[in-house]
Symmetry: C2
Subunit: 502 residues, 2 copies
């Protein structure tokens, strides 16, 4: 291998990063206010750039460079960054290369159609309308699994796309353990019932005050507005345009302040991760969060473990009181704290509290696992959904729109993605456990508004690495042990026993 190979490889990676900057911006724009009539042409332009990205990342030269650079005696001469880059890109290259391009093309058209069919099917509560598309998607995903190969359970290779190294074997243990503790906790909470009168908080929360609060809370977390911005959208997300352009979006609900508040802190948690990645990784595909689960650990940590904690509100409650005095001036902090931590089994995942949320994920996980082991048929999903919801959460949807059709993920072919959401909570709790050992007066720091000690710890321990390390490696390095369910159980039990006086 010559130096020329490494140089060409790095140049190609840089090109891909530039293309992704364009693509991310085009997507962000579509979701934050691009005019409706222009969407169709925009989709075509995105399709063009995405194909170009695909072509450049799967080209024959790319294969040759990766092969040359992966040879053990070459690999060991590379810098840490280049070695990680070769690992990440080779994995991606191999995955893409194993799928015949005709099948990939067919699949892409299928999911793009399926997403709009799903939208209609959900609106009309018509699962049979969506069924043939979903069957076809699952069938092609099964072909992908065959092309990719797998160890253990066939679902493992799907999981690995979003959470490198994660397996059914590991998830079964983690989720089994979690479930056995959460189900009784949810029951105990349900028996105690509401701890606060919800009518106290009925109000029209004005948009400009909500916006002001969002800015204050993001600033308080240490989000850098000179390297980011906040916009309005329907389904909030965080997106990284480039290393110094890390954007968050939010949705305003004029009837319920909690939606934008915790949504924004959540996306802010994602953004801090991206704003904390080492600048040495700029221009490479390592300048991103390492996995969906680790990413979610950052957003859920800020949203729930900090943003829904008592010390946080001991410091910040006056901001909310000043913004909406007619609602909160006479509401004691503890009532506000109970309001933002209300637990109740419900039908919709995205609206679930932090205790029941994990049970929603288990429903989807069980179904996905069954689909790919061949135990379940796609046509049986609506009925299976109702059964699993009853088992896990004790509630059953009256229709498919609020049941099996509620999430877009399957229409987009994102099988293996859902577990990341619960993994985020598990990682977050385990990181928190270590953080409390590192900063023993953590609650006092939060109570005095000094959350930047937390952000700095996360940056040093997790953020700066980007994709340099895989999830299991990070968990082991930071916490000294593999991922376990115990910390989340402990955290939830302690917190909600106190709130619900169990």
């Amino acid at each position: 291998m010559s130096n020329k190979t490494l140089e060409s490889f790095r140049e190609r990676i840089q090109e891909l990063v530039y293309l992704r900057e364009a693509l991310s911006l085009m997507e962000w724009d579509l979701r934050t206010g691009a005019p409706k009539k222009g969407h169709q042409l925009r989709a075509e332009a995105i399709g063009y750039l995405a194909s170009r990205h695909h072509e450049l990342s799967t080209s024959a030269e790319m294969g040759e460079w990766l092969e040359a650079l992966s040879e053990p005696n070459v690999l060991k001469t590379l810098s840490d960054i280049d070695r990680a880059l070769v690992r990440v890109e080779k994995k991606q290259f191999d995955r893409m290369h194993k799928i015949p391009s005709k099948l990939m093309h067919e699949y892409q058209i299928l999911v793009s159609t399926a997403e709009s069919v799903w939208e209609d099917a959900k609106a009309q509560n018509d699962f049979p309308m969506f069924l043939p598309y979903l069957e076809k998607i699952v069938a092609i995903q099964k072909q992908f699994i065959d092309y990719w190969g797998y160890e253990g359970h066939p679902y493992n290779t799907l999981l690995d796309q979003y959470e490198p190294g994660m397996t059914v074997e590991h998830l079964d243990t983690l989720f089994g353990d979690l479930r056995s503790h959460l189900v009784p906790l949810v029951h105990a909470i349900a028996e105690k019932g509401l701890q606060v009168d919800p009518t106290t908080f009925v109000h029209q929360y004005s948009l400009d005050k909500q916006q002001e609060l969002n800015r204050l809370f993001l600033q308080g977390m240490g989000y850098d507005f000179a390297a980011g911005r906040i916009d309005t959208t329907v389904h909030p997300f965080q997106t990284t345009i480039n290393r110094y352009d890390v954007r968050v979006t939010t949705h305003y609900n004029l009837d319920d302040l909690r939606e934008t508040l915790f949504g924004t802190i959540h996306e802010g948690g994602h953004a801090l991760y991206e704003q904390g990645i080492s600048r040495d990784l700029i221009g490479t595909s390592l300048s991103e969060g390492t996995s969906m689960g680790i990413h979610e650990s950052q957003s859920r940590f800020w949203e729930n473990m900090i943003g829904r904690s008592l010390p946080f509100w001991e410091h910040n409650y006056d901001l909310v009181q000043k913004a909406f005095p007619s609602v909160f001036a006479n509401v004691p902090l503890h009532d506000f704290y109970r309001w933002i931590n209300h637990v109740e089994p419900s039908l919709i995942r995205t609206e679930a509290d932090e205790v029941t949320y994990n049970l929603h994920i288990m429903v989807r996980y069980e179904l996905e696992k069954g689909l790919f082991s061949g135990t379940y048929a796609v046509a049986d999903l609506p009925q299976l959904w109702r059964e699993k919801m009853k088992d896990c959460l004790g509630v059953v949807p009256e229709d498919d729109a609020t049941g099996v059709l509620q999430d877009v993920h399957w229409a987009g072919g994102s099988f293996g993605y859902f577990p990341s959401y619960a993994l985020g909570n598990l990682y977050a709790a385990q990181f928190q456990h270590t953080l409390r050992k590192a900063i023993p007066d953590l609650d006092e720091q939060v109570r005095t508004g000094n959350v930047h000690v937390i952000r700095e710890w996360l940056r040093t321990q997790i953020h700066q690495y980007g994709k340099m390390q895989e999830p299991a490696e990070i968990v082991m390095r930071v916490t000294g042990e593999p991922l376990s369910g115990a910390y989340l159980v402990e955290y939830l039990r302690d917190k909600y026993r106190a709130i619900y006086k169990l």
Copy 2:
């Protein structure tokens, strides 16, 4: 030539259109709120996509396709659209191909540096700081002229980039004629002085009311918000992201309502042009305004001939009165009309009224022409500027920041561009003359808010063609004669004689 050639050519054009969609959005985003710290990486990504665009549009295959398609016996078999496309692309290809890529590369780095040097030089009123850059830009532009070749005056080939077919010979006549009428008119107006007390309008014009008015006026003109949007920027512009995503931007001055009002109507005029192009031209480089001058004719027509006309305000004045009753409730319409049509020689082009504006352009035209004929040296520009300003407008800047350094155009190498601004006014007046014959009760239509008859006329006569026809062809077809200075002179004389009671 085979059908394959035409097909490959059309595919390539489509690719270029997609790349331009990405580039336009990236630029729009930079100018409407992209976070500051991300600008440097964004500039790199734009540079990458722009090179890719350049590579695809100047590649050897492109040259072969254009040559094959331009053969007379092939050209005549093409559809009107394909024939126009070949003409437009071949012209562009030949221009780009004649410049050695090394020189082009050197030039691009130079202007990108020069723009930031100009910013500093303007801020510090330091022309000598900018001088070596401007000298180099002019020197390279002279090399370009040699590579491109020219007929008549060397400046003609620079003009032709922005206004195909325009020449120094034609401009000298047009501008000479215009100047001989405008200078006495400006003097006569100056002698009469202010027709309205400006302190009447001193007010803090609230942002939200200004925004509301902008939406109302754009809607009134027939701007389609489902295929566009309005955002805030420092130097307003209109940009077309795609055929159904045509955006305007504006700047708010809380001290002077006129800035955003007429700025928005101006950009709205550009936008109506782009929203009116035939959908048959989508996916080609014909789906744009045909030239800078014709584009400016649309913006200036709406801004001045409609937006600053009495009938327009007979219909719309109550909107402004309702938005700012404390200012306008007791101001008679005619005083408002005089306020928005106040004429006074001033130093800054972008702030000039519609009479003196043209004289600003003549100053720049004379200087540019002299630079490229070799009569003037770059180092003498500050002194020449002062002399020409005195001659044309009777005012002399006290420093270079408000003189020769005021506009960014030269730092960006846009020589030949300025005349388009005055050409826009000339075209607009000539189109208006024809429009008044086509719709004899035009003023009555405007007075009753029926401006969509105007928009429809412009669409039918001009907008729909995009780049299918060149400026001179459009003027001849629409008005039955070549471009003349007489209509602008007549329009300005009639309008301002009435306002200033001359």
